[in-house]
């Protein structure tokens, strides 16, 4: 299982991006092997269907959960269709580092028993 975070920059101190399709960077966290990788979003400046293309890219990576501050109206049915879980965080100030430490805690607890 892989979890993607839509981030505003490719760093650990970056905040969650306010728009999934146009986010600068995707941070992919893999709880099983405890690895973090950064993928720059090539569709961030696309005028239309940025979310759809970004979703296809993430699906190829095997992502099953996506964290963002907001998902557009067009992308939500597509995510439902692809059975991708959308997680909308409450605060725009959350940093990638904090999110990853939260996820690490959650998923390592579940895998350890």
């Amino acid at each position: 299982m892989k979890i993607a975070i839509a981030a505003s920059e490719c760093t650990f101190s970056a905040t969650v991006d306010s728009h999934f399709g146009h986010s600068h960077c995707f941070v992919i966290f893999e709880p099983d092997s405890d690895t973090v990788s950064f993928i720059s979003n090539p569709y961030r400046d696309a005028t239309e269907k940025a979310g759809e293309m970004a979703l296809q890219m993430l699906l190829k990576q095997g992502v099953s959960k996506i964290i963002s501050l907001d998902f557009g109206k067009q992308i939500q049915p597509m995510m439902d269709q692809q059975k991708v879980q959308m997680i909308i965080v409450n605060s725009a100030m959350l940093q990638v580092e904090e999110l990853i430490s939260m996820l690490r805690k959650t998923y390592q607890n579940t895998y350890n028993f």
């Binding site: 049915p77 439902d80 959308m86 409450n90 959650t106």
Partner: protein, 183 residues
């Protein structure tokens, strides 16, 4: 290239996968009729739930003419199956299902449940098991009458016609506005 079809919303998957014809005098060689999921939904909304086309098309998130076309296709297929003694298979079609949303009481994040049959036990982000069904907050609105000249405003009274009344402060013209109450 033809224009792609918008996805139609399906409220629930049908309880059966299809229907089988029985009692044929000579076994039918004809293949089954494939009723699409959106056509099943159209029949269900219109004839089982007794909704009119305008209500039903809003539920399926398609336009009114599109809904009528889907409904007509569905009736045609069912009529073919009945008249020719063919099986009905409910499958295919351009549909999506609305997944239900939950909110975590601990980290206040909102998440959906892509596995429709299982209910999630804990939050995918913080792992807390204190979750509740998400209820969207609808902004409350009220009508106010505002003076164009001095900016005076008061709540609109339903019995009063603001076009013919004037501002109590400066006798200016009043306009009716809709205001969102922020909570």
């Amino acid at each position: 290239m033809p224009r792609h079809k918008n996805l139609r919303k399906l409220a629930q998957v049908p309880v059966i996968k299809g229907l089988r014809a029985y009692g044929l005098k000579t076994p039918s060689q004809k293949p089954a009729v494939f009723l699409h999921l959106e056509e099943y939904e159209a029949i269900k909304l219109c004839d089982y739930d007794q909704k009119n086309h305008a209500e039903a098309c809003a539920l399926m998130l398609v336009s009114r003419p599109t809904f009528t076309r889907i409904y007509a296709a569905a009736r045609k297929k069912i009529a073919i199956a009945l008249a020719e003694g063919r099986d009905i298979v409910i499958e295919g079609g351009k549909v999506f299902m609305d997944s239900n949303w939950f909110v975590c009481q601990s980290c206040k994040s909102t998440f959906n449940n892509p596995l429709l049959l299982e209910t999630p036990a804990d939050c995918p982000l913080c792992g807390n098991d204190d979750i509740a069904a998400y209820q969207p907050v609808r902004p409350q609105r009220r009508m106010v009458c505002r003076c164009k000249r001095c900016g005076h405003q008061h709540d609109h009274q339903k019995t009063e016609d603001c076009r013919y009344s004037t501002c109590p402060d400066c006798d200016g013209e009043l306009t009716q506005l809709e205001e969102t109450i922020s909570t």
